[in-house]
Homo-oligomer: 210 residues x 2
DNA sequence: TTATGTGAACCATTTCACAGCC
DNA sequence: GGCTGTGAAATGGTTCACATAA
């Protein structure tokens, strides 16, 4: 099933999923699109459109059954399989991610770490083996790793992506480097740029008559 | 001058700014929209539209003068003044941000830190005084802090925003908590949700015939 | 009556295509 | 000739309004 879903929709699906998990824990059995919208700051019509994208899941006149909807969205978002990920850069941000609660999931696992720190190479960080970035192609192929998370300086990011792409197994990259990366053929790149987000916030604060 | 600029445009302006800084360092004098587009993965027409939003800055048949364009965009993005920011949550992520190079800027300064760790309260972290979150309204008012950066668990985030809003000085929040926040009246909230970004990446990998 | 599902209208953003200037 | 600036067209996403079902 190859269904094209808009990016903002995927983002909201993740939000619905988290909210429904909460509601489930609170013992809530049904919710309306109206209520979901209020809790998430969205229009009810938006919620309904998103949820109806994958078939009729709600009951007219009643609302959505919490558990059923949760499982439904979960099955849409959940990968059909487990992803193997490597973290490149075991600095403060990298270590923060390793210890990040919301980052633990059965959808993926972090199989290798790469860093240039000689003290870390050959040993383990948070129980995960650490290698020198030079061995990226080799290790990625060996461990069948398809996704990279980059927590390294901007200056090193593009080189790492290009090197990693040589393994031939690379499918996606989540980068925290404050730079724009050019994706090699067949590689999907997502960037989370913390400093850009702050700049945007300050820009809009400035322009909202502050 | 209150000009309404679309959010995607602002994001790209920040990217142009960073790229131009690089080009300047490399001694480059002119660039074309075509070249900027290639380096940033954008269409040349997109680049031109963005850059022409604030007046004619390029030279037809030639391109854009690097330094001139850089200063021009900088003046658009730069706040007219300095922002005072407080960081809430001095855990690993918070400390990573404090040490983050791209986060150092003359546009803002981090004036206070809030954390529930008794060892940190009353002392300083990275040279910045640390307080208990209970004193948020008081300290924000006292120091005239208008922006909050949240690096705390999702469960605490909304309460912190509501408490901080009581100070009356709060204008904006940049949250890293994996939850959706409801903004009090007059407060602008930006969320960077790391786990959502990873979920999105995995979703699209799944759907790109991986 | 209440709340979903959805085509149609609306709005925002991107891309095109070409006129205008260097 | 080359490259910008920009209306107009195309695309993408959100909101409306109402038919439909419990």
């Amino acid at each position: 099933m190859t269904m094209k879903v808009a990016e903002p929709t995927v983002e909201r699906l993740v939000q619905y999923c988290r909210l429904l998990e909460h509601l489930h824990e609170e013992g809530r059995r049904v919710v309306s699109s109206q209520e979901i919208g209020e809790m998430l700051g969205l229009k009810a019509s938006q919620v309904r459109k998103d949820l109806s994208y994958f078939g009729e899941i709600g009951k007219r006149g009643v609302g959505y059954h919490v558990d059923r909807l949760f499982e439904h969205i979960r099955s849409i978002l959940s990968p059909p399989r487990h992803w193997k990920i490597a973290l490149v850069g075991a600095g403060r941000l990298g270590e923060a991610l390793l210890g990040y609660k919301a980052f633990r999931s059965d959808k993926f696992s972090i199989e290798a770490i790469f860093d240039i720190d000689r003290d870390k190479i050959g040993s383990t960080v948070a129980g995960i083996p650490c290698y020198h970035p030079d061995s990226l192609p080799e290790i990625l192929k060996e461990k069948a790793i398809e996704v990279l998370i980059l927590t390294i300086p901007a200056s090193a990011a593009q080189a790492v992506v290009d090197l990693a792409a040589k393994a031939g197994t690379l499918k996606g990259v989540l980068s925290f480097a404050p730079t724009t990366l050019v994706a090699p053929e067949g590689v999907l790149i997502y960037g989370v740029d913390i400093s850009v987000e702050l700049e945007k916030l300050l820009f809009y604060l400035k322009h909202s008559g502050a």
